[in-house]
Symmetry: C2
Subunit: 356 residues, 2 copies
């Protein structure tokens, strides 16, 4: 039985979008495939407010995160982590023998511009990774303020994990000076998992040229070079099903209007936050709350697994806390194509089950 | 307009299988996801005649090929190539700084047991890659004979690229002693592209443990360890849409019966070969012809692009030659769910267009 998913990905996908996943196959070396992938890239440029190149990768977001840090670190990477997915970037560096240092904060806190300034002022780093929206804690980092610091260091390639925010929260890539902004389909874009997306700046292109041994499948420079030469075709057979669905869904996103979409996400987020404060407490520092998911402290010490089981019987699913926070927090995602009514519906069921 | 595809992947997918790509989402950390992925692995073990582990990767086949050679070469890899995809494995080694030597033959020829024996007898290599079915030339390598050689070297991890043959040609993984047998969904399995599959032997597991810096997303050992600990869930969000469709399609494959399926592929192959010999000539050495696609020498010097254009108007598509063979050969794939009637249909149109 399918449930309405309020987990931070995969999200529930609209039936008409799902249907596009069943589009009959075309040759991936055909003009139709070129046109499809070129069209998607054009639309994604609009979504990311960028004039730089777009890369599509048949992987999860992790594939492109690894590709970014491996392909574009020539000297040393500064990895800023505010939770599990920030730390994952550091593990990727270590497992690829890429020199990197990890800068962590307590879970629930944000990466501050001061921390970034302190690290970069040492002159040791030529790549920075920042998590825009940390799925484990519900923190949204202040990338506008961080941008001002990073812009002072023109040799730094800036990578942003926007996996759980892009499409639900405004990220003006060129204005902020982000070199590689990464997302994937199964979060705020409202599609099934299986395709990752990133922006790729000219600075990132030049940097990658200086890096030996970037690997093959996740080498961002080889993807970039290939699509230039082969009119937006990719070196390996991509997931065309996701391409068909993404092409369609991007039209729907622009039909709603980007500003309307972002405002809808804020509206849902504010409602969930108010509800959380009324009945529980917010886990993340209130200055840095995510627009796409809310992590709620389990102040009533409820049995979260049991709550989810009861919600399941009613056709809904939320998330327990991530990793070490499994029972201490629970998470409600409010992203992609849900509206305030959907959020009210699931919260109503929680109130009913917990007799709040 | 969708065409009937006789290209070596993506193949045309049956409407009921395509429909499964539109299955509503479930959480990838749910019991349902575990059960789905465990069930698929069990079915794939049957398809590969193996009792070893199965790994699923949200990538094309290239992702797992790279993962195999990088994760499991501790000393030096011997890469045997009979065409473009064999050579790709060498490029993967080089781009990952994995020590490797390339053993090539002229296009159209096969890797012989003698070549493998000569290389392995030097004692330099602890990993061998063999292309089972070379999509660029239509050669199917004699893996039964090669198996006898490799078995004499118990320290060698044997990787087989069965991307364009598995599911269409019998590969008894355990009997042959293959450690990592790789395929992907968009070829003889009859599904859309976007998911790769491999077998992973205990010997491969032990080898990978000795290899530092295996990377993250394509590290086969970390996939293996994760699914053991987390009941067949994967470290990153996988393409669940492909899982739903694969689960369904594998049932259909067993319904047909593996032996029937393989016999049907041979029947189609023999028909295309006879037709090719009557009107053109076979490109590959006749001792090593592929069961899933036939590469035909363009002895009449026809305009292949023009032929495909005319076929396109009638709703069909074949492939030109690969890379440097673009105009000198053309390729007709006969794999997945097509029958002899489909093959006769497309060949009939070719005869009609070319006035043969």
């Amino acid at each position: 039985m399918h449930k309405k998913l309020f987990i931070p990905g995969p999200v529930s996908v609209k039936p008409d979008v799902l249907e596009k996943m069943a589009t009959p196959m075309i040759g991936h070396r055909s003009k139709d495939a070129s046109a499809l992938q070129r069209r998607i890239s054009d639309k994604l440029r609009k979504l990311f407010y960028t004039e730089e190149e777009i890369l599509l990768s048949t992987t999860s977001g992790s594939g492109l995160m690894e590709g970014a840090i491996r392909s574009c670190t020539a000297k040393r990477a500064a990895v800023f982590s505010v939770g599990a997915f920030g730390k994952r970037w550091y593990e990727m560096a270590v497992s690829n023998n890429v020199p990197a240092d990890l800068f962590e904060v307590e879970w629930g806190q944000a990466t501050t511009p001061e921390m970034v300034e302190e690290a970069l002022s040492t002159g040791k780093y030529d790549l920075v990774t920042i998590t825009h929206n940390e799925t484990s804690t519900g923190v949204m980092n202040p990338i506008e303020e961080i941008s001002k610091v990073i812009k002072k260091y023109p040799d730094v390639v800036w990578c942003v994990d926007a996996v759980s925010s892009a499409g639900g929260s405004k990220i003006e890539v060129d204005k902020l000076g982000i070199d590689i902004c990464i997302t994937s389909t199964q979060k705020a874009l409202g599609l099934p998992p299986g395709l990752a997306i990133c922006t790729f700046s000219k600075k990132a292109v030049e940097r990658a040229k200086q890096v030996p041994h970037r690997g093959y499948y996740l080498d961002l420079l080889s993807l970039y070079d290939y699509i230039q030469k082969k009119d937006y075709q990719y070196p390996s057979t991509p997931s065309l099903s996701h391409m068909f669905a993404l092409d369609y869904q991007l039209d729907k996103i622009f039909e709603e209007g980007l500003d309307n979409r972002f405002a809808r996400h804020i509206e849902m987020a504010e409602y969930v936050r108010a509800w959380a404060k009324k009945h529980f407490a917010l886990f993340a520092d209130e200055r840095y709350l995510s627009n796409t998911l809310t992590t709620i402290s389990n102040t009533r010490n409820i049995d979260i697994a049991e709550l989810n089981k009861e919600l399941g019987k009613r056709g809904f699913q939320i998330s327990n806390g991530y990793g070490k926070m499994k029972d201490k927090t629970f998470r409600i995602a409010h992203m992609a194509d849900y509206t305030l009514d959907d959020v009210k519906e699931v919260l109503g069921h929680i109130e009913d089950i917990l007799k709040l």
